[in-house]
Symmetry: C2
Subunit: 411 residues, 2 copies
Amino acid sequence: MTTSGGELMERESIRSRPFPVPEYLERLARVQEAMARSDLSALVVADPANLYYLTGYNAWSFYMPQCLVVPVRGEPHLFMREMDAQGAHYTAYLPVEQIHGYPEDLVHRPDRHPFDWIGRQAVELGVLEDTPSARVGVETDAPYFSVRSHLALRAQLASAELVDSHELVNWVRVVKSPLEQDKLRVAGEIAQNVMRIALEHVEPGRRQCDVVAQIQYAQALGARKLGGDYPAIVPMLPTGETAGTPHLTWSDLPLRPGEATTVELAGVYHRYHVPLARTVSLGPPPAELRRCADAVTEGLRAALEELRPGSTGHRVQAAFADAVGRHGYVKGSRVGYSIGVGYPPDWGERTISLRSGDLTRLQRGMAFHVILGMWMEGWGYELSEPVLVGTGPDGAVERLAPLPQDLVVKD
Amino acid sequence: MTTSGGELMERESIRSRPFPVPEYLERLARVQEAMARSDLSALVVADPANLYYLTGYNAWSFYMPQCLVVPVRGEPHLFMREMDAQGAHYTAYLPVEQIHGYPEDLVHRPDRHPFDWIGRQAVELGVLEDTPSARVGVETDAPYFSVRSHLALRAQLASAELVDSHELVNWVRVVKSPLEQDKLRVAGEIAQNVMRIALEHVEPGRRQCDVVAQIQYAQALGARKLGGDYPAIVPMLPTGETAGTPHLTWSDLPLRPGEATTVELAGVYHRYHVPLARTVSLGPPPAELRRCADAVTEGLRAALEELRPGSTGHRVQAAFADAVGRHGYVKGSRVGYSIGVGYPPDWGERTISLRSGDLTRLQRGMAFHVILGMWMEGWGYELSEPVLVGTGPDGAVERLAPLPQDLVVKD
């Protein structure tokens, strides 16, 4: 069945690559095939999740311009700040000849930019072709490929056309390999541990930041002997009146008796994320919250039942909407999204959404965070379920963090 | 003298605005003055640190397109995803009429983009003028203003010109108000607490992730009764051979006797960051590391001596270079940068660097992280000093986290 975390640890050195080199080569081949189908001569990959996926490169260096240039045929090359390039081979499988560092004096200058250098070098190396027929894909919606990076790169290319990659690498990532599924299982165990600890510490009078301290401690500790990695999003715990707004972080005010707190966090292992959300009521919940929670639990079951190979996000959303609609609830936003490798600021993959109109066929090995947030005027409810598609019994979902699916009530 | 943290807590509700409204109005006025000088008719602010600085808006919503549109005269307007707009007034001082939510169906679509909507609305509201003489500043190097956002906004403007803002708001942020200085003092106390705990837990045989767990716990706990906020960068602790590369995060491998670990972390209070770095040797350090550490301590003292109102980053770097040069060391990268409000992925302000050629006149109330990283082949040394300029005795620096400035040796 599944590989245990213990075995995983035995067979890999974690400071080095979390996957064997053939897995990276297979990923590269799939990306290059997709590039050929999209008629791209090269692809400039800047999203740190895509860099990690394709090479294993992993460091907090994405606040400076960096990228992997993938030609449609041949070897990819990494470009980054010199001080980072020096140690990139500790995590990236690429030989040092394919890792290039730009000089320090390009950092934060109004008159020149690292992508001037990167563009020139890539053309010289031949990984970027600068001819009228060359079409170079760029990740126009990736968080760390700035407008200036884009303009500088374009200025370096006399003839080639820059085109939108349309999340090409992200789409290759949606079906998880068996080894990736194992990473998600470990992350799921961590998420469960962390959520249990969070629920234990949400108590009247405790400061929000004290609960977060416990959560962050548990996130790094991990599960069994496997250490946890940092989450792409910090723990979120909107509470009381502010639980009606989803992305508030925390303060040092105490939690109050009689109020509800929504807790959203992730377990992370080797950058693979399993997010998880629950709601805790400190004291008997108002009838309205209880009624909402019951409807959402029913809706979740209906959604999971529909989340199968061959189905679509559209149908999953419809199943949820029907179930909660019978109780008079409507949810305007999507009910989930694809998950896997994540870096700040987001643990979603920016590909498949579980929502009306998304007709992508679901496949075995995809992973989703089914997240049901009901954000009302002055209160809110959240319940979520991270799952693998099709790896459960009879093609059902495999729950990655199987905790009870109810409102948590503490008296 | 300085306001104590206790008083700070008394006079503000932390879930709401950490600064009184007149301070926001003063900041807005300074930004609009700078815009007038740069001949900008409007400015589209996307950097979350700039949003927070100008309005107090604070949530983990920056992974979706959002911005503040500031006209050169008149009121600014916030634009964000509908679910976030709903609760933005919990943190932003703006009246709800100046907060606008874009519909959920614009999220992650290949064929439409939130900035189509934002551009149209802003023109309709009159905060963006779309005339041939209009010059609209955009933050082309901000982390969360994507290329697609830029292209979508440009497509909405028939006549107005989009121009680079050249970090206009970041430059307004460089001199800290008395209230901001107080935030930094609290953050400095947190940083000291956290570093003490980190140094205590760096022990042979402890896993790197266990040390991080302690650091993250202490970061959220804060100092005295003031809770800590999340750092823009996770704790970094390159160790042993990998200490020669600066931005590696952690693994679950144990720390080894005889090896050195560099620890870089921040204390954060109300988004104000005080970063801090130290190096620990587990056992007697090699002569080479000791020699380097002594030279760097001498260099740090020389740099701090030069870090005064009226001086420049150029001179600070030269003072350091001279001091370590006498011992045969050369450091290629800058020796520090301006700090203040931070959001992932960076706690630097992207303005003043302490380096050769930076001739910005230093002023009282500026804040810097003087960071001396010596990244060698197979080993490294880091020492840092976060400071306020000119608020110490006789115009000297005020050290925000005054720990001993030496290599930490544990036997």
